[in-house]
Symmetry: D2
């Protein structure tokens, strides 16, 4: 059984702790800057408490480290764990901005491809089935991709300033999905953003409603639609259209129930609620893929370079929004726009 | 263009008048025992008024007669029209009861197969597609058939006593559907009925909620569910299960609209309303099949014998309800039960 | 944490062992007549091996016993465990036939309501939502209930003779569902059965395709459809129709994927496969309900009396099939038919 | 009965001739530059043949003129008919390019609002229901609109050069839909186009796969996706997302049939085929709206100004594609880009 040290004991760390148990791996120890948080989660999971990062890394029964601390510490902790010879899974984003992400990848060198970047949506059974259908040739050559991501409600207001903005915080998942589905790097990005949900978000210089077009060298088009609020719940869909057909990963339902009344004619059951229910299975499958990769010594299926490219797309989309024009993208993540 | 005389100017006659126009046939003349009714419909359609049945039958530009008068006159009018050498389409039921239906078929002799019995549901595109799928072998050998028919609301109360009861009035369509889909005559019928919608219906000796099991010699099973009232509207479904799969003719919708709100997660649009909207296309296609058969001299796809057998099943189901046991069915429509 | 002893180490015992872990209870010890089977499962789960039933019952850290042995031992093991003061969950059926089930309940006396009978489908989120909708008044008064249960393929041939027949082995779940949904005991049962899937099943005197109508005193009707084989997979649906509407528990899907090709216009993903995937969540929720009941000292939500009544309905349905008529049902499970 | 003169006897003219009959209006006379074409359609419909435009306009029994000739004659014929005091319905596009469309509207003066521009999709029951839902407040304030239009196959190759390009020929419908749904003029357009379906289309300087983002002053976003080819058939969807929910006008189906086999788990029936089946009802309802407007003297619900604005959006989208940046839109249809 692979032993895992968990860095962080907050909301995402708890999601991962549960996934580690469900995946049949062993949560050995937990570190958090707030000792009480580590203690609480350790109590619930039976893991030990590490009083420092180093103490966790020094344990011989820790083969892997899962970094689920606040975003600004990802680069440093990932580097430390790699240096200590541990396998690493790092929660998204790799870094809070492009320059740090680039610095991180440069620092990791050849290890960058071994660091598992936790873009969990790649492990969602529905989204993964779209990817498989594309690879199996079911839809022929991919031509148009539409990704819709709408959160049920905006994050707590005080989170907005430190979020890095909608593109880096929320759409980052969709940028990774788009790259993965397209199978080809985009060469341009164009974005539009509005503040329609909450004027306070606009007052902080951010947008809450956005759409983006990515185009690849071969002419494939990807459209991403984001909103920070959705009255009908967490809306997560992918539509892949190609020369021979289309596949859609639609929102799964809580159950197969259908309602028929004088006002409802086969209304399906509610969507699965926010990310912990909707993507619960993906977190478990992600840990399984991580552990399985360790056991077989295979490279991470999604790695630090993917983390870097997603941040690159996010910053380019931000630049496009400011400039009102398409922004050119380079394969080496070079900045082609004025900051 | 085939010229048609319409017998009757009531609700069903109006449905057929509209279908005749839509099918591109010519409504020549209209007869009704109430002259004012014939006048009104003639005025709307441009047809002439016939002052008697004979006057309509005497017209050389009338090639076909559509009998859509009250049920108790179907046998006589059909006979007269056949005698006059006209092609005939007769609205269901062929006759108000089994003995009259038998007398009608006996009287028609070889012509019985030429009289088109207007079981319009055979021409509904969805139901017809089930039949086609069965015949094309898509579901292998048919094994279980489920037919659900629920009206949006009970008929006017004064109609109940003259309706002949739920089995002969409402389930008659489903008996015809079952026979058509099974492709084999049932050898037994068992029925259950309750009065759950309106106690007044029960006071008249009728039921408003019923279910029936038919079994064929080879062991195929057909279940029919009826209710006189459905809060969510006209519910008309057929499910055909076989050795290689299943097809369902589900309720079609008014449009492809789907609603998503805080209480509704992709609720489809309402069903098409009562039979005139739901089965509107079937009435047009039925007239087209009738006219097409005349033009090509082919036998009626559904004829007076089918009308007889449906009444036979209805009366046997009524007997089973009274007796609390399965009733045996004969291919010659012999009564095997105590009346 | 509640400590559980598991009787049996076969297919169903493995399902329960997994559910115990997922529900956060503790699997203490495992007994099986085949020691190697117990050893294998103990090895996988970390539980100890009990060399006898008594050894398992003697353990003070065992608060509850889960009986998942072969059907003919359920009565005896349940009795022993109750006598030893343990809480008991017994896999269905309570007993292989009505007389033994009656003997079991008589023997249990007041404890019969405390023995949790593992009709897991009551804990399926979709089916349970139908029950909740009924109780919440969403569909008004229940009038017609349709339960469809089709297995993907027949059981191994050598299982058929010892299965007790389709009604006692397979439809038993549906009888329990019907009773639960109806909220009222049926007063009559009528059944029809055919051998359409495999003539060998017929040669053994059993049927593989069946339908049943139950009627309650107030006139509610329940139809059950069963087949031992379904080309499109495990088909498990419940439709509850009432005075104010209808709810359907439809087959849930593996994912929200939809396919569009030149031959497929929005085809949804496959059903969840056989019972372990389809009802996996129900097994976990069932254990949670069991453990929760123990913690709070509440009676079993589904108990030995429910187990008895389901067997009663199964045998009455068998009698109806033989006799070709409806069979009357008594609230005291009295046999009203000639055996 | 309103008497209509039909200008043109080609494919679209035939669609309208059928719609005129279905709507209960009277097709009086037909003119076409190819007399044989007019003769053929006159023969089928019972209308007379007009040997010149003037002859048709001179008839006192012609109250209205339906212009369904080739695009380059729309402006002239519309002007002539208006001058002759006739009501006019003009097939889309109003004119082959922006300058002609502007000239047309200038020439029409106050009459521009009386000329009915045949954007038939506004009369599609599904799309119209989206508009009604928006106006009824069902989704709160509209925020994101997604319009997907994919043809089953590209037009005949020799049509491409005279089509005016994808934006003016195909997406013109979607621009009108977007304006109608948004209820507010867009202030910017950004477009992307590729040639992925047929390189010959690219060789002619056109694209066959395109996506566009429109933004309004208040920040509403509309995304349009077009493809000239769709393996699964004519794909016509509208998704309107707002502060209180979402409505989708999904592709309606030929029937309510669903297929279940070893490879198909509830696959719905095919889409309605190309525009004549898919939008057949809209053509009829459009004529009804036209005739109804005449009878009541109300302005056209969609008029020559709407025709002008749709062409303006199409040309602006073309400019954005060439320039790689968003193009600003003016309410007076001023050209803000370098041609």
């Amino acid at each position: 059984m692979i032993g895992i040290a968990l860095m962080g004991a907050g909301r995402m760390a708890r999601v991962h702790a549960k996934a580690i148990a469900a995946a049949g791996a062993k949560l050995v120890t937990i570190y958090d800057v707030v000792p009480a948080a580590a203690e609480a989660l350790a109590g619930e999971t039976g893991a030990s408490i590490a009083r420092s990062v180093q103490e966790a890394l020094d344990r011989p029964d820790v083969a892997a480290v899962l970094v689920a601390t606040s975003s600004d510490t990802h680069v440093e902790l990932t580097g430390q764990a790699v240096q200590a010879g541990k396998a690493v899974m790092c929660e998204k984003p790799l870094a809070p901005n492009l320059s740090e992400a680039q610095r991180c990848v440069d620092g990791l060198g050849e290890q960058a491809e071994m660091v598992f970047l936790a873009f969990n949506r790649r492990f969602d059974p529905g989204h993964a089935a779209v990817k498989q259908a594309i690879e199996a040739g079911e839809i022929g050559a991919l031509e148009q991709l539409t990704i819709t991501s709408r959160d049920p409600f905006p994050p707590p207001f005080d989170y907005i300033p430190k979020s890095g903005g909608l593109f880096r915080d929320m759409m980052i998942h969709d940028f990774d999905m788009a790259r993965w589905m397209l199978g080809e790097e985009p060469v341009s990005v164009f974005s539009r953003g509005s503040c329609l949900v909450d004027p306070q978000i606009g007052a902080l210089g951010d947008v809450d409603t956005a759409c983006v077009i990515l185009v690849t060298r071969s002419g494939k088009q990807a459209v991403i639609l984001n909103s920070r609020r959705s009255a009908y719940g967490f809306d997560q869909r992918i539509e892949a259209f190609g020369s021979a057909g289309m596949v859609i990963s639609d929102n799964p339902r809580a159950t197969g129930l259908k309602h028929f009344t004088s006002a409802s004619f086969g209304a399906p059951d509610r969507f699965r609620s926010f990310f912990m229910e909707r993507y619960g299975e993906s977190y478990r499958l992600e840990i399984e893929a991580f552990v399985d990769g360790l056991a077989h010594g295979t490279p991470a299926p999604v790695n630090a370079l993917d983390g870097l490219r997603a941040v690159y797309l996010a910053e380019a989309a931000g630049a496009s929004l400011r400039l009102g024009k398409a922004v050119e993208l380079k394969t080496n993540c070079e900045v082609t726009w004025h900051a």
